[in-house]
Assembly symmetry: C2
Homo-oligomer: 121 residues x 2
DNA sequence: TAACTTCCTAACCCTATTGTTATTTAGGCA
DNA sequence: TGCCTAAATAACAATAGGGTTAGGAAGTTA
């Protein structure tokens, strides 16, 4: 056999949907707010400074994906992060972004050094 | 202090952009094709059955994000995956998706068992 | 019951992005 | 030089997705 087995359409679809959920700044902010403890919708609205409808919409997306769980208490709905993988993914990408930025910084430094050497010749 | 330090806007922005790159089915397919070895644009076009312009556009996005590297040979341009993190992320999410599907299957099984028990009473 | 709060949902607008076609650039070869 | 192929780019149409406003459902309190 010469070629690698192609990735199934279903896998591609679900993978892209999962990453798509994490590709929205507002959802990342909400997830960040839920890092330590569950919060109700109203608390998230106040913290994010967006409309309540918007918060609910994003929460619904993450709830259906199994990232969050929902608990009602009176008229309030409390959400918490069910899936720790979410934070793990964010940490991995953050570390990678940091490494990339540091690398860029090194390029700048190396360039100034090279210039100095050139001048000293 | 009562509240957790809010996540910086810059971090949210870059995180979302990175995940956004992985949220496109066509880009995931291209990445999958580059799992084992580098490939030129033409090979990717044939394998993905989309237009050459489309492939080039997606490649550019991933190139600028540092996920891919580019090498030219004659009139051909060869791309390969520079950042192994990409595959790691996909694997993590795939495992998580599999676990979720298995859990759903268990729910179906448990339900049939519960029914059987109900009937046997 | 009435008023109030919390949250969800529907409908809409608007922007961002994907995929297409067409064009341009660049290298190989006659 | 002219022709061919490969790849990048520009311009455009179509769609998806986020954010808003408005409305309604469910629960609490008077």
């Amino acid at each position: 056999m010469q070629s690698v087995k192609p990735i199934p359409q279903e896998v591609v679809q679900q993978l892209s949907e999962y990453f798509g959920i994490l590709s929205e700044p507002m959802r990342l902010r909400i997830l960040s707010l839920l890092r330590e403890e569950e919060k109700c919708v109203q608390e998230l609205v106040e913290a994010t400074q967006t409309s309540q409808a918007n918060v609910s919409k994003h929460l619904k997306v993450m709830l259906q994906a199994g990232i969050l769980t929902r608990r009602t208490e009176g008229t309030s709905a409390y959400y918490r992060v069910e899936d720790p993988l979410t934070f793990e993914l964010c940490n991995l990408v953050c570390n990678r972004l940091a490494a990339r930025i540091e690398q860029q910084a090194r390029h700048f430094r190396d360039f100034t050094l090279a210039n100095a050497e050139e001048k000293s010749k």
